[in-house]
C-alpha cells in the first residue's frame, strides 16, 4: 500500500501545536510506518520551493496550525490548499483565531506601534519601524507584512475539518489521525478530535447548582477550593460554553477553563453564550446590585472571546469584506506588495 503523504505547517502560532504533535510520543513511530511527512518546517528541513514543485493535490492531508496574520501566512495557505486533498485547520489559531486574534481589538497598526515604541523593554532611540521592504546596496530585503486583521484559516481558503484546542490534546489528535489513516473521516465541514457536549460534562468538580456570584475574581486573587465548581467560587470559567474534548484539563489543575476548544455544536458565538451564562449566575435583586457584579468583570472581550474573536460575530461587525485582506497602514508602501495578503 502506498504511504500516506502528510504535511504540517505553522502560520502565526506559538509553536504549541507542533509540540502537541511531538506529544504523540511512540505513536509517531506508528505514524511513520503508514505515512511520509512531506513538509513540516518546525521539525524537518523543507523549503517552500519543495512544496511549490509538487503537483496539485499531491499531499493527502495537511495539518495547518496558526492564524492568518501576514501575507506569508496567506500565501502558504493558498499554496497548501492547492497541493492538499484534505486541509485540516489544526488548533485554536487556525480554527478560530485564538490569542493572536486578540490583536484585532486594537488592530495591527496599534500592535506594531506598541511593539516598536511602547513596550517597557523596548529600547528604540532611532524610532525604527518594521518595514516590509528595505533597500540595501546588495538588493531589496523583504519581510512578511501584517494584514489589518488576524483571520482564521477558513476565512482565507476552504478547509474540510477543524481540530480545536490550544493546543489539541494529543489523545484526540491520535484518534483523528487514525480516522485519517483508516479512511474513516466523516462528512467534511465538522470538527475532529472532540467529545460530545461541553467541558462541564467532563469536569469532576461539584456544582451546588443554586449559588450565585456576588463578585467575580481573577485567578491570581484566590486559591480556589479543589472540589467545588470554579464558577460558583466566582472565577469566570468558560466550561459551560466550551466544546468538550480536552478532558477538563485546566479545571482539574485548579485553573478555570479558558475556552480553547471553541463553541459547542450548533452555537453561533461562544463569547455571547458565555456572557449570558455568566450574567445568569450573578447575584443581584436590583439594577444597582447586578451592575455592581457586572463591573467586577475585568476585560470582557479578553475573557469571553479569548480564543474565538476572529471567528465571532464581532469579527464581521468590525471588518468590512473589502478591508479584511488589506495590508495594515504602517506597512503600506507605494508600489509595494499591496494586495498579497488576500
Amino acid at each position: 500500500m502506498e504511504k500516506l503523504k502528510l504535511a504540517v505547517y505553522w502560520a502565526s502560532s506559538c509553536g504549541g501545536c507542533d509540540i502537541s504533535l511531538v506529544e504523540l510520543g511512540e505513536h509517531l513511530l506508528e505514524l511513520a510506518r503508514v505515512a511520509d511527512i512531506v513538509f513540516w518546517p518546525c521539525a524537518m528541513d523543507f523549503k517552500y520551493a519543495d512544496v511549490e514543485a509538487m503537483p496539485d493535490g499531491h499531499i493527502d492531508v495537511t495539518l495547518f496550525n496558526g492564524a492568518i496574520r501576514t501575507d506569508e501566512d496567506a500565501h502558504i495557505a493558498h499554496l497548501l490548499r492547492a497541493k492538499s486533498r484534505v486541509l485540516i485547520a489544526y488548533g485554536s489559531c487556525a480554527t478560530e483565531g485564538c490569542i493572536p486574534a486578540l490583536a484585532n481589538i486594537k488592530g495591527a497598526d496599534h500592535a506594531l506601534a506598541r511593539a516598536a515604541f511602547g513596550e517597557p523593554t523596548t529600547d528604540n532611540p532611532g524610532g525604527t519601524m518594521f518595514q516590509g521592504r528595505y533597500a540595501m546596496p546588495e538588493g531589496v530585503l523583504t519581510l512578511p507584512v501584517l494584514g489589518t486583521q488576524v483571520r482564521t484559516l477558513s476565512q482565507v481558503v476552504p478547509v474540510q475539518y477543524s481540530i480545536p484546542g490550544c493546543p489539541p490534546s494529543h489523545e484526540q489528535v491520535w484518534q483523528a489521525l487514525n480516522a485519517v489513516i483508516e479512511g474513516r473521516l466523516p462528512e467534511p465541514g465538522g470538527l475532529l478530535g472532540v467529545d460530545a457536549r461541553t467541558v462541564c460534562d467532563q469536569c469532576p468538580r461539584v456544582r451546588e447548582g443554586k449559588i450565585r456570584v456576588e463578585r467575580f475574581l481573577r485567578p491570581h486573587e484566590v486559591i480556589p477550593d479543589p472540589e467545588r465548581c470554579l464558577l460558583e467560587q466566582g472565577l469566570v470559567c468558560a466550561g459551560p460554553a466550551t466544546h468538550a474534548g480536552c478532558g477538563a484539563l485546566c479545571v482539574k489543575a485548579g485553573m478555570p477553563c479558558r475556552g480553547c476548544y471553541g463553541a459547542p455544536d450548533g452555537i453561533l458565538d461562544q463569547g455571547a453564550e458565555l456572557l449570558d451564562a455568566i450574567v445568569a449566575g450573578m447575584a443581584g435583586e436590583s439594577d444597582e446590585e447586578i451592575r455592581r457584579v457586572v463591573s467586577t468583570i475585568v476585560d470582557p472581550v479578553g475573557t469571553f472571546y479569548r480564543f474565538s474573536l476572529a471567528a465571532s460575530l464581532l469579527h464581521g461587525l468590525k471588518t468590512s469584506p473589502l478591508e479584511s485582506g488589506a495590508t495594515c497602514e504602517t506597512q503600506r508602501i507605494p508600489g509595494g506588495r499591496e494586495g498579497d495578503v488576500a
Binding site: R207, G209, P240, E273, E285, D287, P300, L314, K318
Partner: protein
C-alpha cells in the same frame, strides 16, 4: 351564587398541608394583593384576593379548574405589601400542586431540556428566578448523567434559562432561538442594507411583553414597523440573547434596543436585572472592540410610562445618527 352544599370544608386544610400553603388561613381578604398585582394590570380577570378567598371557603372544584391559578407569575410584588405577610405566590403554588395531583395541567408551555445535549453545567439552575430547575441523575445512552430537569408547576415560561443555556439544550415553545430568528428576519428585514450616510438608522427592538400595558399600545408600536424598525416581543427582557443581538447587528441592524420593565416591576423577579446586566456587559464588549456601545441600548419602561416606547425608539435613532461605522 355559592351553595354551601357544594363547598369542601377540607380544602383549606388540604392547601395548608402543603409547604407554602400554611398561611392561607391568615388572609383577611383586604385586596392589597390585587391592588399591587402586576399580572392584574395586564389581565383584569386575575385577582389573587378572590382565589385565596374561594380556596379559604372551600370552593375546591371551582378553584382547581380555573385558568387564573396558573396566571400568577410569582413576581412577589404583593408579598412585601401584604399586611398579613402571606407569601401569596407560595399559596398559589400549593393550590397548583393539588391541581396537578388532581389531573389538571398548566395551560401554558414550560421549558424543556434536551438530555442528549445537556452537560449538567448548572447555568440554568442558577439562572431560574424560581428555582424551577434542578439537576437529577438520568440514564442517557446507558450512562448515568446529571441532567437539568424543569418542574412544570414552578416554571413560569419566562425564557431566561433558554437564553442562559450555553449549549442550546433548553427550549421553550414560541421563544426558541429559531422562532425569534424567524421573527427578526421575516420579510427579509435582517438582510436589509445598513442605511447610507444620513439615512434613517435601522433598529431592532426586543420588547418585554409585560412592559407594554395594553393591546392598544402594542398595536401602536407594531404599526410603526417598517424598514427602519423591527419589533420582536419577548416574555421578559431576561430572555434577550446576546448572540441574537450581535447577529442582528452583523446582518444589517444599526442598533438593537432592549426594552424591559421598571425597577421592581419585573414579572419574573429578576428578569429585568439580567436583561440589563447582559446589555451592560455587551456594551463594554462593543466599546472595547471599537464597534461602539451606542449600537445596543437597554431601557426600562415603567408601569406608568404608557405610550413612551415610540419616543425611546426615536431617541435611540437620533443617538445612532451616523449609520454603522467600520473601524480598523
Amino acid at each position: 351564587m355559592i351553595r354551601s352544599s357544594e363547598l369542601d370544608p377540607g380544602f383549606l386544610q388540604e392547601v395548608m398541608a402543603i409547604p407554602g400553603g400554611e398561611n392561607l388561613l391568615h388572609c383577611w381578604s383586604c385586596g392589597t394583593c390585587a391592588a399591587t398585582c402586576l399580572v392584574r394590570r395586564y389581565d383584569p380577570s386575575f385577582n389573587p384576593r378572590l382565589i385565596l378567598r374561594k380556596a379559604g371557603i372551600g370552593m375546591r372544584q371551582e378553584v382547581l379548574s380555573s385558568r387564573e391559578i396558573w396566571l400568577c407569575s410569582a413576581c412577589d410584588a404583593c408579598y412585601p405589601r401584604c399586611p398579613q405577610e402571606i407569601h401569596i405566590s407560595e399559596v398559589m403554588r400549593a393550590i397548583r400542586t393539588i391541581a396537578i395531583r388532581d389531573g389538571y395541567a398548566p395551560p401554558g408551555p414550560s421549558a424543556e431540556v434536551d438530555s442528549a445535549l445537556c452537560s449538567g453545567c448548572a447555568v440554568c439552575t442558577r439562572a431560574c428566578p424560581y428555582g424551577a430547575i434542578d439537576r437529577v441523575p438520568v440514564i442517557v445512552d446507558g450512562l448515568e448523567r446529571m441532567i437539568a430537569q424543569v418542574d412544570p408547576n414552578t416554571c413560569m415560561a419566562c425564557g431566561i434559562c433558554v437564553a442562559a443555556c450555553p449549549s442550546g439544550s433548553i427550549s421553550l415553545e414560541a421563544v426558541r432561538n429559531e422562532e425569534l430568528l424567524t421573527r427578526m428576519s421575516a420579510g427579509g428585514w435582517l438582510a436589509g442594507q445598513s442605511q447610507p450616510e444620513g439615512g434613517k438608522p435601522r433598529i431592532l427592538a426586543f420588547v418585554c411583553q409585560w412592559s407594554m400595558r395594553s393591546d392598544a399600545e402594542w398595536a401602536e408600536v407594531e404599526a410603526m414597523q417598517d424598514d427602519s424598525l423591527r419589533v420582536v416581543n419577548l416574555p421578559c427582557s431576561g430572555r434577550v440573547d446576546p448572540a441574537l443581538v450581535l447577529l442582528a447587528l452583523a446582518e444589517g441592524a444599526d442598533g438593537v434596543l432592549v426594552v424591559g420593565c421598571g425597577e421592581g416591576e419585573c414579572h419574573y423577579k429578576r428578569g429585568t436585572y439580567l436583561g440589563r446586566g447582559k446589555v451592560a456587559l455587551l456594551r463594554s464588549v462593543l466599546e472595547q472592540t471599537g464597534i461602539g456601545m451606542e449600537r445596543v441600548r437597554f431601557v426600562e419602561l415603567e408601569a406608568l410610562q404608557r405610550g413612551a416606547l415610540p419616543a425611546l425608539i426615536a431617541d435611540m435613532a437620533a443617538a445612532l445618527g451616523q449609520p454603522a461605522r467600520v473601524s480598523g
